[in-house]
């Protein structure tokens, strides 16, 4: 195994692991979908029009 091989292997594996770790930590850190829905914008259709006075 040459030094170049070590560098490429360690860099490639590290980049992929870092990217996956970052993505998974963000996904896992998010609230469950149901909670997000509850806290989301009001979804009740009031029937009002945009220009009603």
């Amino acid at each position: 195994m040459e030094r170049g091989g070590w560098i490429v292997m360690v860099l490639s594996v590290s980049i992929v692991l870092a990217l996956l770790g970052y993505c998974l930590s963000k996904v896992m850190g998010l609230p469950p979908v149901e909670v997000e829905d509850i806290k989301g914008p009001l979804e009740i259709d009031t029937g009002d029009t945009e220009y009603s006075d």
Binding site: M1, G5, S12, V13, V16, L19, L24, K26, E43
Partner: protein, 598 residues
Amino acid sequence: MSQNKNPGGEQWASRIGVILAVAGSAVGLGNFLRFPGQAAQNGGGAFLLPYFISLLVLGIPLCWAEWTMGRYGGLNGFHSAPGIFSTLWKNRLSKYFGCIALLIPLVIYMYYVLLESWCLGYAISYLNGDLMKGSDADAYSQYFSDFTGQSENGALLQPSGRWQLGLLLCTFLFNFALIYRGVSKGIETFCRIAMPIMVVLALVVLVRVLTLGTPDPSKPEQSVLGGLGFMWNPNYEALQNPQTWLAASSQIFFSLSVGFGVIINYASYLKRNDDVVLSGLTSSSMNEFFEVCLGGLITLPAAFIFLGASAGEQGTFGLGFVSLPNVFAVMPGGRFFGFLWFFMLFIAAITSSVSMLQPVIAFLEEGFGLRRHASAALLGLISALGCGFVLNFSENLLALDTFDFWVGTVLIFLLALVQAVIYGWIFGIEKGEEEAHVGAHLRIPTVVQYLLKYVVPLYLTGIFAMFCYNNVLSSSKEIALVEAAIADSLNDENAQAQLQVAFPDYVKDSYSTMQSPTEEKSWQIKDEDELLKFFIAKKEDGKLALFEHVPGYLEKIRTDQVVFSSVLFISLVFGFLLLMVHIAGRRWEAQGRISYES
């Protein structure tokens, strides 16, 4: 109606569920078998540079585009590509382009389920010890040939092929059992269990490979470090070869499952505020983990440690089903690790194949109002016909290879190109950017939108053109120079005899040699079926040389009955789907679900 709801009946149950399902769809045999082979043949570690560039420029942007378009289509009431394309591009023709996204997963399923049954069969063969055949390399080649019925067409339909047929039937039914349960209960539940199991199994095999040391002290170079070096040592000269860049782009493209018609279908089951950006990036990076971190560290290093440099010359099937069984047979604990490996490949293949059924199921349900059992039964019938076709024409796996080339390769390029154009030029990058960021937990850099509009279509067209040039058209390669004495004495009467003596490995008794009608001092050597195999021609320097004629896929359609029948079969399926899409389109128009811009 709540804006956050998906109008369709089915939805993903969890955020991680859809990510695992999309990643499961992408992770397959290509990650573990194709990627290492491509890297070894195209500069080793140097291959990773064009590979990562392609991931950033082509792979991830196309994934984001597919996720975005899929969710948009789903919110407009469609889960299949013909319907989704109709909402993105309000033109009568758009649904017919969507037909390609039905044909691709359907036809790939027809042969992929066969590969799955091979993996299951190999895993069971390790359990009962059938595959522990010592160090005789030919024994594994023969086993693979017999197992897959390569000796003659119809070999697996004879009584001796009952075991393989049974495996295929079990695999086929298992896929349909999953799909019948639905998107959330079937696909999502299975992927949530299967993906972690795959990681554990692959890590166990990885630890085994990295602790092999130097099994044969008389060959000190065939060690773990030697194996890793074989895979990862960079040959920077390969970067000057366009073939390396083509191979890297193609690998990324196929690996991420873009252009399969699957991501767009899966994303259509998302709700309005479900994230597509972080989810798309996470599933892509999960696929890369399996490919680079597991496939790159296991397959070729293991093969090199026991087989030496010849391990890198194998194709995907050769590496997976001939070399690796040879490796496991001589590895300490090989029977156990062989079972783990092939069982892991089986799971990887199932997570992919189950995703290939859902787009067509969704189309049958929304296009014709069929219930799930009816759509699954109809799809089962069509896919069983195709699977039977591939199973019957098993000699040299020619039907499988033809299906894989024209649908699993060429049409995928085409569909990805269509999707990039629809996203960048018809749906529009401004609308696309806005749509992608609804509910997003990550921002896509604006430059990606310009990549999708300008660079991706050009990039795809470029590699598609190069790919076709290399594979569709026939080519020739020089084998050897004709010695001057023979070259001077060659004539019509003695050409066959002279060439047989000069090139006994190539020119056989049964071949015929004749003077080329168009060129002086040029001879064509044809086989028993009158097909051109070799030819003698002048090189640029005036010397005569023997060339091998390498028929392209286009020529094979003309010269090979099985290839012709396979292409005809694909065309018939495509025609049938086009008709179905046409009828479904008329229904959608009548129901007012789609409209066209005049």
